[in-house]
């Protein structure tokens, strides 16, 4: 119970910190992925893009928004806490580092929920044909967030400076989207990159999101891969995020 209270308090502290920035946050959460959706449609030929492609673009934009919230923004938040001395305040408390990470994670999930919902509404408004399998979609989104948050925590815990950390999280966030077959089919990628891209969490996430948006449920492999990556990155993140220095 104490642990739950700790997590909720950390979440509330982070949430209160952004309540005056809800407007810019919603704008950013919506504008980047939505613009990427429109851009991808335009490049593919707005009117002639087949339904399957439009679904891929929407799935890609959802994964893009998850990458933004879970790596770039979460990483920024963790880095800010670390390099402005706020983390020291948490370190003075009888609080487990994992409770802190979970609290921040809940905050990232809340941000992602808003962002994904907005994109689904916009997708529907733009006429994307979808029959979302919501329970499965939620599972995929949660697992994707855990994978990406784990990476964000690792970068934020290891960065030597705020600027180095934010550069790394931005690069990682963008790289995982544009170096993976999120907006395009893997066949159009260079062969060497294709092998590498098949291992990226965003590849599994995009495939799983697209399948569930189409009403499918054959995503066992993707869920397994995302679970393994989530466990690995979070375990590493928890190991690196500690109050006590050596």
């Amino acid at each position: 119970m104490t642990r739950v209270t700790d997590i909720i308090c950390v979440f509330r502290i982070q949430f209160a910190g952004t309540r005056r920035e809800v407007g810019p946050f919603l704008l950013a959460a919506f504008v980047f992925p939505a613009a990427m959706y429109l851009f991808a449609n335009a490049v593919a030929g707005v009117e002639v893009a087949p339904e399957q492609s439009r679904l891929r673009f929407l799935a890609g934009s959802i994964v893009f928004s998850l990458s933004l919230t879970s790596i770039s923004w979460l990483g920024y938040l963790l880095l800010e806490n670390r390099f402005t001395g706020r983390l020291k305040l948490f370190a003075t408390l009888p609080l487990a580092p994992s409770s802190y990470v979970f609290g921040v994670l809940v905050f990232a999930i809340a941000q992602a929920a808003v962002s994904v919902t907005t994109l689904l509404v916009v997708g529907r408004a733009l006429g994307v044909q979808m029959r979302p399998n919501f329970p499965l979609l939620i599972v995929v989104i949660l697992l994707t967030i855990l994978c990406l948050c784990g990476l964000g925590v690792v970068v934020a815990a290891r960065a030597r400076s705020f600027s180095q950390g934010s550069l790394l999280t931005d690069t990682l966030g963008a790289g995982l989207i544009f170096l993976a077959p999120v907006y395009y089919a893997p066949e159009v990628m260079p062969r060497a990159l294709r092998v590498f891209a098949q291992l990226l969490p965003t590849t599994f996430a995009a495939r799983a999101v697209q399948t569930t948006l189409a009403g499918g449920h054959a995503i066992g492999n993707e869920l397994l891969a995302l679970s393994v990556i989530a466990v690995a990155t979070l375990a590493l993140g928890f190991k690196l995020m500690k109050w006590r220095e050596d």
Binding site: T5, C9, A16, T92, R244, D246
Partner: protein, 319 residues
């Protein structure tokens, strides 16, 4: 302040996690504490000391002497290379979270959450100290009042002055009335009136049973607040005792301050004398006209032990 301070054991007895035990006299026990950083810097070289319950201990020393390293190990923020730290009988090296339950800590450099209001800041951190909602509200109200921040209760912390933010950091340590307060340079950067307000807060905490360990650059602060003073230099605790005990270490315990009669515009000169009579003899011999004689102070002990004067600018700021 009506609340009394519980020890960690008392808190655990109340929560049913520990059998009743007789009260311990020693609040903090440090043995042979050594800290060697990865780059080979020996920041602490075998520090040992004991702090009794209800005592105020000030740690002084030149910049880079190892004061903060010492306190960071005490608060479990830094793992010692060797040695032990026990807080109310709890091994702080092996059980940092349990040891921290007994501590209120103000780190030297910590940031506040600027977009939280003062009240939110205290209430949420009180909850993180495992106080119930009602206790957290009450603790926040008490601390806000005590620190003179009542007018700022609903203001965002970002709108406060540097001194007020520092007071918030001290207030966070006070939440829940922990039996041990560890304050790393709590009044650095504060104006004289804020500094005195913090002294009052510390005195009130001690009055209800808190043990306090603080580091400071201000000799006056150490003299006025503490029961015992530890001097750290080059990573070693070179002196530890009451002010009187430290003064006894001076062979020459009278300070004669004077201006050179040949060059009255020169800086004030200082000479230490074994007795008042010896100081008077010097005045007569040198035909001094502008002088003062005073009993040696902590500043003199500090200078004698470390070979370094303390920061005059900071001392003068005390007023």
């Amino acid at each position: 302040m009506t609340a009394t301070i519980e020890s960690l054991s008392q808190m655990e007895v109340r929560r049913g996690t520990l059998a009743p035990a007789p009260p311990r006299e020693i609040a903090v026990r440090v043995r042979d504490l050594i800290k060697v950083y990865r780059d080979g810097t020996e920041a602490n070289r075998g520090i040992s000391l004991e702090v009794r319950r209800g005592e105020v201990v000030a740690i002084v020393g030149p910049n880079g002497a190892g004061k903060t390293t010492f306190l960071r190990q005490l608060t479990t923020e830094l793992r010692p290379t060797a040695g032990s730290v026990s807080v109310f009988g709890v091994d702080a090296v092996a059980e940092p979270e349990r040891a921290k339950r007994a501590m209120g800590i103000t780190p030297q450099e910590a940031g506040v959450f600027e977009r939280l209001t003062v009240r939110e800041h205290f209430e949420l951190f009180a909850r993180l100290k495992h106080l119930s909602k009602r206790e957290a509200r009450e603790a926040a109200r008490e601390v806000i009042e005590e620190l003179g921040l009542s007018a700022e209760t609903n203001k965002n912390v970002g709108a406060l002055s540097g001194g007020q933010r520092r007071r918030i950091l001290i207030g966070l340590a006070l939440l829940g009335r922990p039996p041990l307060l560890v304050l790393d340079e709590p009044t650095t950067g504060l104006d004289p009136s804020s500094r005195r307000a913090v002294w009052s807060v510390i005195r009130r905490a001690v009055a209800v049973g808190a043990t306090v360990i603080l580091s400071t650059h201000y000799m006056e602060e150490a003299e006025r607040l503490s029961d015992r003073i530890g001097v750290i230099a080059a990573g070693r605790l070179i002196a530890f005792g009451t002010l009187d005990e430290l003064l006894v270490r001076l062979d020459r315990s009278y300070r004669l301050s004077y201006r050179d009669p040949i060059d009255p515009s020169s800086d004030l000169k200082i000479r230490y004398c074994a007795s008042f009579a010896q100081a008077q003899q010097h005045i007569a011999r040198e035909l001094l006209s502008e002088y003062s004689i005073a009993r040696a102070s902590l500043e003199d002990v500090y200078f004698n032990l470390t070979g370094e004067p303390f920061d005059k600018d900071e001392a003068e700021a005390i007023g």
